[in-house]
Symmetry: C2
Subunit: 313 residues, 2 copies
């Protein structure tokens, strides 16, 4: 049977028809509009779904369900979106509005959970029953798969690894707390470490690489220089890898999944990133002489959003 997945992002909304093997048969993208009322946003998504069904030469009855991945949280029971800051949604009756427009079962989930599910069914963690997906970008997102299913908690507020405390009385976080894990392990954190460090080393290669403008330092700038063994970039990278490894070891000490999947923009650093973490995290695991979770790079990239959403049930 065909299922439809919708990936709601800050700039675009991707919709795709997915088969049982997790292959996308047709897809389209519409611009994310936050300037229109919520019912119109839903109507645009429904129109997109109808066009995709047409494009596949199918009818409504050939489609099993529609899943939506959102950068926020929703109630599984009522289909209400509880919070989705990017879209300006706060307690909006998504499923209720949806059901006025199209008669297809609807599931809504957090986007990191959706990506975790996609990888565990059609991606790098396929065939495992437990995995933790960690997406490293501007922040840190995560999705937990246990016994083959998304675990998002009893109240739907779990899976937020980025806001686990990693440093008591640490750096302030946008969430209002101090010392949240994403302040030390995200791409943003690596950039912060670099911008602080270049103040102390005005002649460093890092600053030369951005024509002397610290605001232009990206995570990639540091990582690319670390690959060349530049001393300052290597030191910054090693510190950041140490923090990321401690975060991953904490996940192992608490949850011990079969696989830990690394995704997000930073994962484009590939084997250089994976090998650095893999060689470092075991030292922070309490039972380090036991078999440990495999560490793998996400394989579905941006498509995980559509595929995982389609897999929701």
């Amino acid at each position: 049977m065909i299922r439809i997945g919708i990936d709601v992002g800050g700039t675009g909304i991707q919709t795709g028809a997915v088969n049982d093997e997790g292959i996308i048969l047709a897809e389209e993208s519409i611009i994310t509009r936050t300037d229109i009322p919520f019912p119109e946003q839903i109507r645009n998504m429904v129109d997109s779904v109808r066009r995709i069904i047409d494009a596949c030469g199918l009818e409504l009855k050939d489609v099993a369900s529609v899943g939506v991945g959102i950068p926020g949280i929703a109630s599984k029971e009522t289909g209400e979106v509880i919070k989705c800051a990017n879209m300006g949604w706060n307690h909006v009756p998504f499923r209720q509005e949806w059901e006025k427009l199209i008669s297809l079962p609807l599931y809504i989930e957090n986007d990191a959970n959706v990506a975790a599910l996609a990888e565990s069914i059609a991606g790098v963690s396929a065939g495992t029953s437990s995995s933790v997906f960690i997406t490293i970008g501007t922040g840190i997102g995560s999705g937990i798969i246990l016994n083959g299913k998304i675990w998002s908690g009893a109240h739907g507020i779990g899976g937020e690894l980025g806001h686990v405390i990693l440093d008591l009385d640490g750096v302030p976080c946008s969430c209002g707390n101090h010392g949240c894990l994403e302040r030390y392990c995200s791409a943003t954190a690596l950039i912060r470490f670099a911008r602080e460090a270049v103040q102390l080393f005005p002649d460093c290669s890092l600053l030369k690489a951005v024509d002397g403008n610290p605001d232009r330092i990206e995570a990639r700038t540091v990582i690319d220089l670390a690959r060349t063994n530049d001393p300052l970039a290597s030191a910054l990278y090693t510190k950041w890898i140490s923090y990321l490894s401690q975060a991953i070891a904490s996940v192992v000490n608490l949850l011990d999944p079969e696989v830990i999947v690394i995704g997000g923009g930073v994962s484009r650093a590939g084997a250089f990133l994976l090998e650095a973490i893999a060689s470092r995290f075991p030292q922070y695991v309490i039972f380090k002489d036991q078999p440990l979770p495999d560490l793998k790079l996400a394989s579905l990239g941006a498509k995980a959003g559509i595929i995982g959403a389609a897999m929701l049930n």
Copy 2:
């Protein structure tokens, strides 16, 4: 049907017959002996099991299974105890030895996981499908129950909340790492904070309460004085509660169970402890305006070890 639970502790080994309601029908205790070879230790446990069956007026065929809770980790598949420092066990073939002596199905689990299971079936979290049990004593132990079952990870090394990193580059831990959660949230941590503080305040009530000998400060000494609003004890208690609350909020942000159960020696502080944590932890939760896990005190006390072990399957 009757099931037997064995709680292997550092000083004593408790064995009990438990019915389907989690009621202990008969129990006995033998001294923990680490001076005898491993097969003799197992033989002593089997003898204890036989006496308990006799005491209930039952025969072997009336007993469904035997469960053993150990302060260590074991393989569910092979019944091998992988590590149990207190007993001096390192990769010992527990089930293999057991099967030579008695024909009863045997299950082995970590003792904090066993206590978590007991509370979730016959204790304060009965009727819930997800809970995290946190035992606060010399260290921090924990057991995770998801979908009504113990979650100890894909390799059996999960559920170790005490060794999740809470403070980057923090206080050294006996496990070899720095900044482990139990260094900030255990009874031992509260005692450490107090012993450090009394050096600065030689006239404090805390030091008077132990006749001027800092080595005699216990967690209870600080908590009892904090109850009377003694300024120094209250400040220490508040700091410790803040750390404990951040640890609990991290569990909520990641796992969001229905209930968090507080057990261990420190839980004897009762409502004074529970209310302090309950009023503090929500501020560290990312989705703090949502329904949050209930926080409860463990209700089975030391009996959780026998009851939970008997419930293993």
